[in-house]
């Protein structure tokens, strides 16, 4: 019986994981121009320490966060370990610094609401406040 329960839990976890992997990722910013849309390259550049014509400042989630994993693989197109290597190269060559990290999606929303020009990534199931703007969507 115990083995059956374990098997069911495992199947449930895999199912949840697959559902989560299909989750749409939203790039949300606190900006005045509600019509602004960015390309994937522009989003990637902002979160990899580059600049944008719109003076946006990126906010990230912690390494173990599932939304971050999805953002890395689907928007940036790199694994977390490669992104860590990239930041080591940028940091110790004095070029770029990684974005500030906040511990949860809710903290990211609060930070975005309070800071003009801030931009973060969130899963589509989270309620986005009306004063924030979705500037890119990765389905």
């Amino acid at each position: 019986m115990q083995s059956f329960i374990r098997l069911m839990i495992l199947i449930f976890c895999i199912f949840c994981d697959m559902c989560y992997a299909r989750e749409t990722i939203l790039i949300v910013a606190n900006i005045d121009d509600k019509a602004m849309k960015l390309t994937r390259q522009e989003v990637r550049n902002i979160f990899m320490g580059g600049t944008s014509p719109y003076e946006l400042t990126a906010i990230a989630l912690p390494i173990e966060n599932l939304t971050r994993v999805l953002f890395n693989t689907r928007v940036v197109g790199l694994t977390e370990s490669r992104i860590q290597s990239y930041w080591a190269q940028m940091k110790f060559s004095g070029r770029k610094r990684p974005p500030r990290e906040l511990n949860s999606e809710q903290l990211v929303i609060s930070f975005l609401e309070e800071n003009q020009g801030a931009v973060g990534y969130l899963p589509a199931h989270v309620d986005i406040p009306s004063d924030l703007t979705v500037i890119f969507e990765m389905k």
């Binding site: 580059g50 600049t51 080591a88 110790f92 060559s93 004095g94």
Partner: protein, 398 residues
């Protein structure tokens, strides 16, 4: 028994780590970070050394620890210092970087002070092993004697686009330090040292192209004196061929592609120097790897070809003992120049144990031709210019 140098290295590691942890919490404006690597190496041939690795397991050749301090004095003004402690007694430990950064806009950045020379793609992070997939950068494209710091100014400007981003860096400065050329440690002063670097990022592609040049004056008194003697005899071509002042140029191109499953990286460079002791050199490497988290396995090939300028053939032989002696002495200088043309095949795996910590293992077959030195230190003339190098590297950033 642990050697005193290694013991000192580990003690420094602990002190730096705990200092970093303590101070990092004190003030957001002051940030300590660092990197360390422990590299074990073994060469399977007792007749030669390669990168100072020999037929015994060595840990004191490329192991090191570095500490970086960043202080954000104002919103647009920061100070950065970097100290490195090497276990290799042939490498200078101490201040590697010390510069201030002025960022008037997010796209424009100025750096002033002592900085790493950004010749090639990884040359300013050559000591930060965590930043690249391999256990060591290929000697064929990253000759160790060539990389150092410079004192000067650097400007960086970024142009973000919808489909790509472009970053341009330019620097100007000088350096004055001891370098090793043709197995001799000599003082080299480079003035009017400058370079231009362009980076293009397009989706998962990264391209880099750069040009660097400087006027170098190498202190080789015996060579300068001999050159003067040749000039006095009227052998101006021969005298000119031994000059110790000249232009050094470096050309570099690289392309990287990487996604969640695999990577391909390639880099080539051409080094051209107007000195008898520094050969013109062409080097390249190609590396492809496959990611299967938490591992990445890769295969690489690197090759370089070095050519010295030809000796001038103007001193007559057989006319007088004095001229014969002059001609043989002149020719002997060229005959003893070591040729470092070689190639290397590498297989390796990187294991990302946790964020900031990775373990790498790799094996390289290094091959040279004929009597070329091929970056080996030859202990036995019978050595066949072929050896396997085994490396195990633990990489840490904090």
């Amino acid at each position: 028994m642990i050697k005193p140098r290694l013991l000192k290295f580990f003690c420094t590691t602990l002190v730096i780590f705990f200092s970093a942890v303590t101070f990092a919490e004190d003030d957001d404006k002051l940030q300590f970070s660092g990197f360390a690597r422990l590299v074990l190496g073994y060469l399977d041939d007792k007749d030669a050394n390669y990168l100072d690795y020999d037929n015994s397991i060595r840990i004191d050749k490329e192991s090191l620890i570095g500490l970086q301090l960043d202080y954000q004095a104002l919103d647009n003004l920061a100070f950065t210092g970097q100290l490195i402690g090497h276990t290799d007694k042939n490498r200078d430990s101490g201040i590697e970087w010390l510069y201030l950064t002025y960022t008037p806009t997010k796209k424009l950045k100025f750096k002033l002070g002592r900085q790493r020379t950004p010749f090639l793609n990884y040359s300013d992070v050559i000591d930060v092993g965590y930043a690249y997939p391999w256990a060591t950068l290929p000697q064929q494209t990253y000759p160790r004697h060539f990389f150092s710091t410079f004192d000067g100014a650097m400007v960086s400007y970024e142009i973000p686009g919808k489909e790509f981003s472009l970053n341009i860096e330019g620097y100007w400065g000088y350096f004055d330090e001891d370098i090793v050329v043709a197995e001799r440690t000599v003082n080299a002063k480079t003035t009017n040292f400058s370079g231009l670097i362009g980076h293009i990022n397009y989706n998962n592609w990264t391209f880099r192209g750069s040009y660097h040049q400087g006027r170098t004056d190498v202190e080789l008194n015996d060579l300068s004196e001999f050159s003067e003697i040749l000039a006095q005899f009227g052998f101006n071509q021969s005298a000119e061929s031994l000059k110790t002042v000249g232009l050094t140029e470096v050309f570099q191109l690289s392309a990287n592609y990487e996604n969640v499953n695999y990577f391909v990286r390639a880099e080539l460079n051409h080094i051209q120097a107007d000195f008898v002791f520094v050969p013109d050199s062409d080097g390249y490497f190609l590396s492809a790897g496959y990611h299967y988290y938490p591992f990445s396995s890769y295969i690489s090939y690197s090759k370089n070809k070095a050519d010295y300028d030809q000796a001038a053939n103007e001193i007559p032989i057989g006319l007088s003992p004095l001229l014969d002696s002059l001609a043989f002495s002149y020719q002997a200088i060229f005959n003893q120049l070591p040729v470092d043309s070689s190639e290397a095949f590498t297989l390796g795996t990187r294991w990302d144990i946790q964020p900031g910590l990775a373990l790498k293992g790799e094996i390289s077959l290094i091959k040279g031709q004929g009597d070329d030195r091929a970056f080996f230190t030859v202990n036995n003339p019978e050595f066949g210019r072929k050896a396997l190098l085994y490396l195990l590297a633990l990489e840490w950033v904090f």
